[in-house]
């Protein structure tokens, strides 16, 4: 068996294992098997590549080993971050993925250019190279910026940054990159070609920044998904450049995953891709909320506890505020205490709650709440009219009835959790200021809504104390 056949066989098995890995993610029961399968696939991929490299006479093995070791040394602590930091870790790793693809593309181009390898720089290859570096470097800076926003790094603006002619100037820059790309495809070996290549790199780095600065926190789940898709597609482009089917397959799996998650997120916000990327959500909120002065109705935690004890169905709606306050373990105490009293407790999870797809599920699973009680929005909405109490913890837009009724609201048309249909609503809110998107929430001013102001963790903790009988009732 030739080395080439061995390499292809290893790649074949690796591809099958990658597909199985994703297939096993369909169910929490089999999901861990999916991780092992993915690890096996990656090991085979690296082994196969090494076999091919050795057969064609490779060098620098010590350096390569060093790069592997350094990567593992950085990767290990990145896997130990608290689960509330998972969105920024994910964004950071998209950045690493994009950078890797961009660098390999750059190396390949300059290698071929240096060799004056006309055959290798066919139009198809150059198109793939341009796509690879464009997607790679754009994902790199875009994801770094997204990670910075999620981590709330001080010098990165949290609020969307918008300026006049934003979309037009972005479009002009994109046209420039496209022009350079076409020139490069036509004359990949011209003396000026490396400069055009460098220009595309710089423009791609700029695009990453320009695409992310107008995006606010509430849009992060969509943006992270789109960046995920880009990272996958840049691997596909690399596969075209290197004529490597394993890269194409694995990249396509990643790309389609990012694509599907983006579609789900967009649908959950009733917005299009285009609208998320170019819509600048921030603009609508500048309108002064003033005018009619509405007042919140506050209630004590003690009476909230009493109402919940008497309930037969309590639905908890968690949002990003729960993650920020790290309140999930206290929520678990409340969940246990209510269950002990025979109350049915369910969690209503909106697809875009939190800062990345599935964010709330992971936090609640960390607090050891059985996943069978974590309900998707569509599953639980039918039960909400029967709910005696809805407890909103740090969620805002996903329960705002304006999405159903107010055509002028920026979130109009977005599917929401029907919290307003419950018999009583308790909402925990950090302050009396409007939420992240700056939109007033009618839910908080309903007759049957009572507000509990304070940090989510301390309010829920206090609630648990009252329920456990300390302080009596």
């Amino acid at each position: 068996m030739s080395a080439e056949t061995l390499v292809q066989l290893l790649y074949l098995v690796s591809t099958a294992l990658f597909i199985l890995s994703l297939k096993w993610m369909s169910d929490p029961e089999t999901a861990r098997k999916g991780v092992f399968s993915g690890v096996a696939a990656m090991t085979l991929a690296v082994a196969g590549t090494l076999a091919g490299v050795i057969a064609t006479g490779g060098t620098h093995y010590w350096w390569i080993l060093g790069a592997f070791a350094a990567g593992a040394a950085v990767g290990y602590p990145l896997a130990q971050v608290p689960l509330t930091a998972v969105p920024q870790r994910t964004a950071l790793s998209h950045a690493f993925g994009g950078l890797a693809a961009g660098l390999v593309g750059t190396a390949k181009y300059f290698l071929y250019f240096g060799q004056h390898n006309e055959a290798a720089l066919s139009p198809f290859i150059v198109i793939a190279l341009v796509a690879e570096i464009l997607l790679g470097f754009l994902t790199f800076t875009g994801s770094l910026l997204a990670a910075g926003k999620l981590q709330e790094v001080k010098w990165i603006p949290q609020r969307p940054v918008t300026y006049p002619m934003q979309n037009l100037s972005n479009l002009a820059l994109f046209g420039l990159a496209l022009g350079l790309g076409i020139a490069l495809v036509l004359h990949p070996l011209a003396p000026w070609a490396p400069w055009a290549f460098g220009g595309i790199i710089l423009l791609s780095l700029a695009f990453g920044v320009l695409l992310i600065i107008p995006i606010g926190g509430a849009d992060m789940p969509t943006v992270i998904s789109i960046l995920n898709a880009y990272a996958g597609l840049s691997a596909v482009a690399m596969g075209f450049v290197l004529n490597n089917k394993l890269l194409i397959t694995a990249g396509a799996l990643d790309g389609s995953s990012g694509l599907i998650l983006s579609v789900i997120m967009c649908r959950a916000m009733n917005r299009s891709f285009f609208n998320v990327l170019f819509g600048a959500f921030g603009q609508a909120q500048v309108k002064a909320v003033g005018g009619e002065e509405k007042t919140y109705k506050e209630d004590t935690i003690e009476s909230a506890a009493q109402v919940m004890e008497q309930a037969s169905l309590v639905v908890i709606v968690p949002g990003y505020g729960m993650a920020v306050a790290q309140a999930q373990h206290k929520v678990r105490e409340v969940y246990d205490l209510l269950k002990k009293r025979g109350v049915t407790v369910k969690f209503a999870i909106h697809p875009v709650a939190g800062r990345m797809p599935g964010h709330m599920n992971v936090l609640l699973a960390e607090a050891e709440i059985p996943y069978t009680d974590l309900m998707e929005m569509d599953e639980i909405n039918g039960d909400l009219p029967q709910a005696d109490v809805v407890l909103v913890i740090g969620a805002n837009d996903v329960v705002n009835p304006a999405a159903r009724t107010d055509k002028t609201s920026p979130i109009y048309g977005m599917p929401i959790i029907d919290a307003d249909k419950a018999k009583t609503i308790y909402a925990i809110k950090r302050s009396k200021a409007p939420g992240f998107a700056g939109i007033d929430n009618e839910l908080y001013f309903l007759d049957k809504t009572f507000m509990l102001f304070g940090d989510a963790k301390s309010v829920v903790g206090e609630l648990a104390r009252k329920l456990s009988g300390e302080g009596g009732h």
């Binding site: 990658f18 890995s21 994703l22 297939k23 993610m25 369909s26 929490p28 999901a31 861990r32 993915g38 990656m42 690296v46 091919g52 490299v53 490779g58 060098t59 620098h60 592997f68 350094a70 990567g71 950085v74 990767g75 290990y76 689960l83 790793s93 993925g97 890797a100 390999v104 750059t106 300059f110 240096g114 390898n117 066919s122 198809f124 998904s225 691997a235 596909v236 690399m238 450049v241 290197l242 004529n243 490597n244 890269l247 194409i248 694995a250 799996l253 990012g258 599907i260 998650l261 269950k339 697809p351 797809p357 599935g358 599920n361 992971v362 960390e366 050891e368 059985p370 996943y371 998707e376």
Partner: protein
């Protein structure tokens, strides 16, 4: 001057690049891409919404398959030093994703428990 990509065009393998495994087959590559995308979309549509965060960290690790390209670029025999250096940085980035991606996915998945019997 410009060579059209065509399967019958004899494409000489780039000297010692070690990159192109086999002949360049544009349509073959595009076919593989299309089929893989279909499989990906169908498989991922069935992933439980509960697991979307671990799914994303798993696909993060999978997209670190770029390590294959990085290895090929770094290990090439007659590559100039800066090409090797670019490849090594790419290996570093990909390995970071492989290690952290798989580890954190498993860490999260361990937390999803059914636990039918809650103390009643």
């Amino acid at each position: 001057m410009i060579q059209t990509a065509h399967s019958e065009t004899p494409v000489p393998a780039p000297p010692a690049a070690g990159g192109g495994h086999g002949q360049l087959d544009v349509m073959g590559a595009v076919f593989v891409f299309m089929l893989a995308t279909f499989i990906g979309v169908m498989v991922i549509q069935r992933v439980s919404r509960l697991l979307h965060t671990p799914l994303m960290s798993l696909t993060n690790a999978i997209s670190a398959i770029a390590v294959v390209g990085a290895l090929i670029v770094s290990a090439g025999k007659d590559h100039p030093g800066y090409i090797t250096a670019l490849g090594l940085v790419a290996i570093f980035c990909s390995t970071t994703n492989i290690v952290s991606g798989f580890l954190i996915t498993d860490r999260m998945l361990k937390m999803f428990k059914k636990r039918e019997k809650v103390a009643e």
